[in-house]
């Protein structure tokens, strides 16, 4: 072995030693004080200006509401797999009192981790499994879709509305149906073109889908995916789009007609309060909409004629007060079989498991 190698080894050992001595002096503070510790796990980056961004807005609202009394932590880009289980377990070990798991696929991991840590409270978004220390919450986004669908039906000149959809799950199918019913009511000639891209967040795929829809004649594009890419494409191509999950007008000042905004903040603030006061309960399933402020309709663009604005607001107010239900019969399923009788409204069970299109929508739900 030559001398250079020896020097290199000695140098490396010295560096490693120095590092470990340095680092062992700093003790990681884990068991932290009397602060109420709240953890959040996100499926993507909070910088997506969509789904995760709004959850993070909720997290910040919790910090603002309780200041020094709470400490919030979050983890981004957590895959819906065994990794989610590990992340939540580590959070629980780190002394977290309440964990908000903000994506559907965390459902089984939440149930597993909740079993191991009965003292930790879990809030799972959009799932359907609960336990003594697990409650779920979801928003009636389809109410927002109804308002947006009306605006889309009125604003389209080509009578073709594009729809970029993520996964064929009840949540997304419900949104398509709700938007279509409202659009059809506003404009009997309207047709929906739907592209499924099988991802929640992929700006390049989202933009490609929007471009395809526009090239097929769509002049209004709805989306049920998370990024702002579609808004940017719409602005560039001179068509209309709607903000998803948060206000995206910054990405398309002319294209952005309005937005369906996810209002998690009041819910998070309330649940953390219950946790701190000891009144929090498991086995709850919250499904709130415009009325409770969990779904918010953004500002309406000045491009929208006043009459349409008024109609949209009337739909919003009607849904909020409970006088109007987006799924009110008569409605047939796509195959023509009757679903809702005249005046009948959809029950929650059918809505939560919705796996069919309503009459008039073309194409099939991918299987």
């Amino acid at each position: 072995m030559n001398r250079n190698v020896l020097i290199a080894i000695a140098g490396l050992i010295a560096v490693v030693l120095a590092l470990s001595i340095w680092s062992s002096r700093q003790d990681t503070e884990v068991a932290s004080s009397d602060k109420y510790k709240v953890g959040f796990i996100y499926i993507g980056p909070p910088g997506d200006h969509g789904w995760n961004y709004q959850h993070d807005v909720g997290r910040k609202a919790v910090e603002e509401a309780y200041g020094d009394k709470v400490e919030t932590v979050f983890q981004e880009n957590v895959p819906e797999s065994a990794d989610a289980e590990r992340v939540m377990s580590q959070m629980a070990l780190a002394g977290t009192d309440m964990i908000f798991a903000t994506s559907f696929g965390y459902m089984d991991p939440v149930i597993n981790v909740a079993k191991k840590f009965p003292g930790v409270k879990f809030e799972h978004a959009t799932g359907y499994k609960t336990a003594d220390n697990v409650s779920t919450y979801s928003a009636r986004f389809y109410e927002g879709r109804s308002v947006v669908g009306h605006v889309a039906g009125k604003m389209t000149r080509t009578n073709i509305v594009g729809y970029v959809a993520s996964f064929p799950i009840p949540e997304v199918v419900r949104g398509i149906n709700s938007a279509y019913l409202a659009a059809k009511k506003a404009n009997p000639y309207v047709k929906f073109k739907i592209i499924w891209i099988f991802t929640w967040y992929d700006p390049a795929k989202e933009a490609d889908a929007a471009k395809t829809l526009i090239s097929q004649g769509a002049d209004v594009v709805l989306q049920h995916v998370d990024s702002s890419a579609i808004m940017s494409v719409a602005e560039e191509k001179g068509v209309y789009a709607f903000g998803q999950a948060s206000d995206m007008s910054a990405f398309g000042p002319n294209a952005h007609l309005t937005a369906i905004i996810n209002g998690w903040a009041p819910y998070y603030v309330e649940k953390v309060k219950q946790g701190m006061e000891g009144t929090w309960k498991g086995n709850q399933q919250v499904f709130d909409g415009i009325g409770a402020g969990m779904v918010i309709i953004g500002d309406l663009n000045d491009n929208i004629p006043d009459s349409v604005k008024k109609e949209a607001m009337a739909i919003k107010d009607g849904i909020a007060s409970g006088t109007l239900h987006p799924f009110t019969g008569p409605i047939n399923k796509q195959d023509g079989s009757p679903w809702l009788k005249n005046g009948e409204t959809a029950d929650v069970g059918t809505l939560l498991g919705m796996n069919f299109y309503v009459e008039g929508i073309e194409g099939d739900i991918p299987k």
């Binding site: 290199a8 490396l12 062992s24 990681t28 884990v30 065994a82 992340v87």
Partner: protein
């Protein structure tokens, strides 16, 4: 002008030091990066490499987790190392991993809710076969038509991902799942569940098999003629052909072996920690294993350590995220640096650098 001259005698000490140097350098540069992100670099590096192993709060949970996270990486990397030694580049282990999981899970779920002791072993076998089949495609194309196996195996990852989506939304979708994508949870099907072997740790059969395979591959590489043939094909394909051997046979063996191990990792994961076939089932083990294989110097013992170090950066990296607010991308960058520095050091290990005036 700078000239690179291959070293005639590569120092074995230097070649072992490469991985250590790259870890050291990654710590150093990573630390600087963390500093500029406003995080105490010493605290962050300690949390990645030290806390999962030594902290009282986390270690009892984290240490078995490192083995669980490392098991698929080690299994896949072992298989890849065979091919890489022979200059056969299977880049599509991710796809073979997915197909192994789909094949095995489809078999088990087709028998649900039948309970039998035969289901688990057959499921594992079919999972391995699924991975093999997927890697047979590049193998046959390479042997028959001399098609580049790098491209074919890589492209097949995307095909496998589409089949995964199809399975989760269609033929494997849980009929009791309220219309949501994803199969039944195999952990709730006792005959097919890859359950934990040591209560409370999550250690499953895949972890045990990964350690067993290290021994197997060690013997294969250093005590068996196949190991020699692989090395020979890798270092001199012409000499290999002149010696009367058929390189096609070895291409076939290398690709199916790596595919089979990826398939094994897939079925172990889907029946164990992951639990179900879902659209996001694959999280990149097949690609990360490439780093592990090289970090481990394509040596079974090296791969064991490399797999565990890589798993440590995942587990520790997660801690830094929610304890210190480091962004996820910084941790990925940190892992990427490992391979980058390793390759850089290799340059100095395998080449002499001569400055020449011109």
């Amino acid at each position: 002008m700078i000239q690179l001259i291959p070293r005639e005698n590569v120092s074995p000490v230097l070649s072992l030091l490469g991985p250590l140097f790259s870890i050291g350098f990654t710590m150093l540069i990573g630390g600087i990066l963390f500093y500029f992100l406003g995080v105490d670099p010493f605290a962050a590096i300690k949390m990645i490499f030290w806390d999962p192993l030594m902290s009282e709060t986390f270690s009892t949970y984290s240490i078995p987790q490192i083995f669980i996270k490392g098991a698929p990486l080690i299994l896949i990397a072992l298989g890849l190392s065979v091919g890489f030694k022979a200059n056969i580049w299977n880049i599509g282990a991710e796809g073979q991993y997915i197909m192994g999981a789909i094949f095995g899970a489809s078999f088990a779920l087709s028998l649900y809710p039948l309970e039998s002791a035969f289901i688990f072993p057959l499921m594992v076998f079919i999972g391995i076969a699924g991975g093999c089949l997927w890697s047979l495609i590049p193998a046959i194309l390479k042997i028959r038509f001399n098609v580049n196996e790098i491209l074919v195996s890589l492209m097949l990852v995307y095909v496998a991902e589409q089949i995964l989506a199809l399975a989760s939304l269609g033929f494997l979708r849980n009929p009791d799942g309220a219309g949501f994508p994803g199969s039944r949870n195999l952990s709730q099907y006792p005959s097919a569940s890859n359950s934990e072997l040591i209560l409370g740790t999550g250690i499953h059969l895949g972890v045990v098999l990964s350690l067993f395979m290290i021994v197997f591959f060690y013997i294969l590489f250093f005590r068996h003629s196949l190991g020699f043939k692989i090395k020979l094909l890798g270092s001199s394909p012409k000499a290999y052909s002149f010696s009367g051997q058929n390189p096609n046979k070895l291409i076939f063996i290398c690709l199916t072996l790596s595919g089979g191990l990826a398939g094994l990792a897939g079925i172990m994961e889907v029946a164990g920690p992951a639990g179900q076939i879902n659209i996001d089932f694959n999280v990149g083990y097949g690609f990360t294993a490439i780093i592990v294989a090289f970090l481990g110097r394509l040596n079974p013992i090296g791969i064991l350590f490399a797999g565990l170090v890589m798993a440590l950066t995942y587990v520790g990296g997660e801690l830094t995220q929610f304890m210190l607010n480091l962004p996820a991308a910084a941790i990925q960058l940190f892992q990427g640096m490992l391979l980058f520095f390793l390759l850089s050091f290799d340059l100095f290990v395998y080449y002499k650098i001569r400055l020449r005036g011109n």
